[in-house]
């Protein structure tokens, strides 16, 4: 260690960033000294990714300043070429080009590889890091990225962040760098980080694998709702203390009494109003390998919770594909972890309404009636009076302002989402599947949506609801918590506080079956 090793590589002061009505990062301050490995922990939507993007200059913040290597800039300035000031980032979603060879990929990252032997130089530089980081990586220079496993692609991304290139790395930002790596590779990776840290490279890591941060880093910042709640020395932190800090229950609102008043028995028993008819049946192999079945009954609202990317969406989509269409019975579907059977038909509402939901050129009425055209038609022609009756009925129920002839894009995002839910509900299917339906929707609309779902459930519609916002899962009858692809816990809606869900979704993450599967 040289005497340069003391001093700050990164100082973030009072950075805030607002997206529409949500404050993604709120007055956050972070400090990383030279040669230090720090972590940022937080649950879904805590603002980790946003603050990392402001640090590397990809995203403009609203307030505050970022100082990298004693060069200060206002946070509202973006940086076109962060690699020129020695800031490297490995993003969670992979950024390799599938059609290139490994040595060509290395050359794209390695700006120092020029001239005639550019591929050889780039490969030599990358292979040096790869061999050091993952001694058994088994990656050949002429392999195409497309043909590599996700684990090997992630190895290449991690390694390419540490090549010297024209400007050596000063600060490396890693967003879930080990999500696809197996245990051996992960150990090698952190050992390499520590060697580089001794040479003065600073590293920021975010990962949901808390034990990795505790074992390998020096300090851990905990974020929640955009605020940096505090910093913990890794030496004294435990997983429980971090989970407690992340799930600090101060802001949990009191549950509205009307929602919890009636018919909610704990322990996952169906409500008294619902029949015993099983609509969805998820089978998975239990901890001990024996099969266990999870059942969703008619008229129930079931939430899928957990950290993002732990199998909730896969399960939800499997449920949709397993459902019957147009009077035909569905068939069983398999996912890596579940076998899914559904009785009856299903309708699906995506929270990604811009891409997967609305017809932007049509008016609200057509957007609502689209899925129910069969029921408002006779002899193959749409009967406009039944159509407008259907639309008018839903307008009343949802309390949408304006007329149904307005273009859908004139509505606010939240109201568009309501119209989309009306489309799905108007079909009258047995099962309603919701994929994060309240993403980016304001609080008032959210409560409307919750009420609407409850009234639909009371009429006998079953609702399966995937959400990344833990607090809204209290509106479910039961919540399935996913971890590493499996349902690890079933809790009743009244027990589903954010603390409980966070604790369950981190759980005991020493089981590494999921990682091994990805690495294969």
């Amino acid at each position: 260690m040289s005497d340069r090793s003391r001093g700050d590589t990164l100082v973030v002061e009072g950075v805030s960033k607002r997206f529409g009505s949500t404050l993604a990062v709120d007055d956050a301050s972070i400090r990383v000294t030279r040669g230090e490995l720090i972590g940022i922990a937080g649950h879904n939507g805590a603002g980790k990714s946003t603050i990392l993007k402001i640090i590397n200059g990809q995203l403009a913040g609203d307030a505050g300043s970022v100082t990298v290597n004693d060069v200060k800039r206002a946070a509202d300035q973006t940086v076109a070429h962060p690699e020129k000031i020695g800031v490297r980032t490995v993003y969670q979603e992979l950024s390799l080009c599938a059609s290139l060879r490994v040595d060509e990929t290395a050359a794209i990252f390695d700006h120092s590889a020029r001239g005639l032997g550019w591929r050889r130089t780039a490969w030599k530089n990358l292979a040096a890091v790869l061999d050091d980081m993952f001694p058994e990586h088994g990656i050949r220079r002429e392999a195409k990225i497309n043909d590599l496993s996700i684990a090997r692609r992630q190895m290449i991304e991690c390694a390419s962040a540490f090549i010297d290139s024209t400007v050596p790395p000063v600060l490396v930002i890693l967003d879930e760098p080990t999500s696809s790596l197996d245990a051996a590779a992960t150990v090698g990776f952190y050992a390499y980080l520590q060697r580089r840290a001794a040479e003065g490279v600073s590293v920021i890591i975010t990962t949901h694998r808390l034990h990795e941060m505790i074992d390998n880093l020096s300090r851990i910042y905990v974020m929640r709702d955009g605020r940096v709640l505090g910093e913990h020395a890794a030496a004294t932190a435990t997983k429980d203390s971090l989970v407690d800090a992340m799930g600090l229950a101060s802001h949990e609102e009191a549950r509205t009494p009307t929602a919890s008043a009636l018919g909610r028995e704990t322990g996952g028993v169906a409500r008294s109003t619902s029949s015993n008819e099983v609509i969805v049946r998820l089978e998975q192999s239990g901890e001990d390998g024996s099969p266990e079945a999870l059942e969703v009954r008619r008229g129930e609202i079931v939430g899928f919770a957990g950290l993002e990317g732990h199998g909730q969406l896969t399960a939800l989509e499997a449920v949709y594909r397993a459902a019957g269409r147009r009077g035909r019975a569905g068939r069983n579907r398999r996912t890596p972890h579940h076998s899914v059977a559904v009785t009856g038909d299903a309708a699906y509402v995506s929270g990604d309404r811009g891409v997967r939901g609305i017809f932007p050129l049509w008016d609200v009425a057509k957007n609502i009636s689209f899925s129910s055209l069969a029921s408002v038609s006779s002899a193959g022609l749409i009967r406009s009076d039944s159509e407008s009756a259907l639309v008018g009925d839903w307008y009343r129920r949802l309390g949408i302002k304006g007329t149904s002839a307005d273009p859908i894009t004139s509505l606010s995002g939240g109201t568009q989402q309501k119209a989309l839910m009306a489309r799905a509900m108007a079909v009258g299917s047995d099962l309603l599947l919701l994929e994060d339906p309240t993403r980016g929707v304001d609080q008032a609309t959210k409560s409307d949506v919750y009420e609407l779902l409850r009234s639909q459930a009371d009429t006998g519609q079953t609702i399966v609801w995937y959400s990344t916002e833990n607090e809204e899962l209290r509106n479910c009858d039961r919540v399935f918590v996913f971890r590493s692809g499996r349902v690890v816990a079933t809790i009743s809606g009244s027990d589903a506080t954010e603390d409980v869900i966070i604790a369950l979704s981190f759980g005991d993450s020493t089981d590494s079956t999921h990682e091994e599967e990805l690495a294969r």
Partner: protein
């Protein structure tokens, strides 16, 4: 946790013979074999095809098509598709037959403006996020309109220097073979062996990744489109020299044929996945197929349908090969 769970990974290192063979025979291999096979059938039917004159006669009409396929290949490499290449080549032909003989400077300037038009399309598509299919289709009517404005009915006369340049040949090696070889080698070297060629292919495959690595995605797109325009002009040059006159509609069939050539040649609409050798071979397959059908005496009214059918067959074959490879890999 953690050191207790550390295990040595039992996975093989993936350097088996089959893997090596797989990367040696890239996507260009199948179309090249197909091109050679079709040519062999033609030689078997008419041995004279293999002579210098025969080669010139059979291959010369394919040169403009091969250049059009290369032009299309650069656009496909960007993850886009060019529906205007046919009218663009037609306009180049008209400029060379009508404007260039009378006004050399004005003609050359016009050709440069056409290239700038391709750069402009790239900027529009990259910055404004417009779909390339719409932009290039729209521009195709612009190119055609200008061409008809210059030359309402086929006519004009290409300068004799141009004609002799295009028809250049040697007594031993046919000129067309020389042109094809040089072009293929140059384009393949650029795309696969220069760093910027790699960046260009990467930008079509994962633009965001290339941008994060510190490259300008806009510049890459413009480069690809300008290259496409350049090869469109070359195609027009050879068409002009071979026909000696101008016709706005001369290359209208090239739009779909060039796309077919790229796809037969191993390209993919996903972007970034192109091969120069494959594209040239694909162009030859598409072109030779027409000639072969003529040779075996397929009625001209059936030719288009037969040609299309064979192309579909080739694609089905390719899809099955890709599927088999995928199954093997995942097993």
């Amino acid at each position: 946790m953690t050191t207790s769970t550390v295990t040595r990974s039992p996975r093989p290192l993936g350097s088996s013979m089959r893997d090596r063979l797989g990367s040696a025979f890239g996507s260009w291999f199948l179309p090249s074999v197909a091109a050679v096979a079709i040519f062999a059938i033609m030689v078997a039917l008419r041995p004279l095809v293999a002579s210098t004159t025969g080669l010139n006669l059979v291959l010369a009409p394919l040169i403009p098509l091969v250049f059009a396929v290369l032009a299309q290949m650069f656009v496909v490499a960007a993850g886009d598709i060019d529906l205007g290449i046919g009218s663009f080549i037609g306009l180049a032909n008209v400029v060379m037959a009508v404007v260039l003989p009378t006004d050399l400077v004005g003609g050359l300037l016009l050709l440069l403006v056409m290239l700038a038009g391709y750069a402009g399309m790239a900027v529009l598509i990259s910055v404004r996020g417009l779909p390339s299919i719409v932009v290039t289709l729209g521009m195709s009517f612009v190119w055609l309109g200008i061409a008809i404005l210059i030359l309402p009915t086929p006519g004009g006369a290409v300068a004799p220097e141009l004609v002799s340049f295009v028809r250049f040949t040697t007594p031993v090696v046919p000129g067309v073979v020389i042109v094809l070889t040089i072009t293929t080698v140059l384009v393949a070297l650029f795309l696969n062996r220069t760093k910027y060629g790699t960046v260009l292919r990467g930008s079509g495959s994962n633009a965001e990744g290339v941008r994060r690595a510190g490259w300008s995605v806009l510049r890459a797109k413009v480069s690809l489109y300008v290259l496409a325009g350049f090869f469109g002009l070359l195609s027009g040059l050879y068409l002009s020299g071979q026909t000696g006159g101008g016709d706005p509609y001369i290359a209208s069939s090239y739009v779909l044929l060039s796309i077919a050539g790229v796809i037969v040649g191993g390209g993919s609409f996903r972007g970034g996945e192109v091969s120069a050798v494959g594209a040239v071979a694909g162009g030859l397959v598409v072109g030779l197929l027409g000639a072969l059908l003529q040779f075996i005496g397929v009625q001209s009214s059936f030719q288009a349908a037969a040609q299309g059918l064979v192309l579909v067959l080739v694609l089905v074959l390719r899809a099955s090969v890709a599927w088999i490879q995928k199954v093997r890999r995942t097993r």
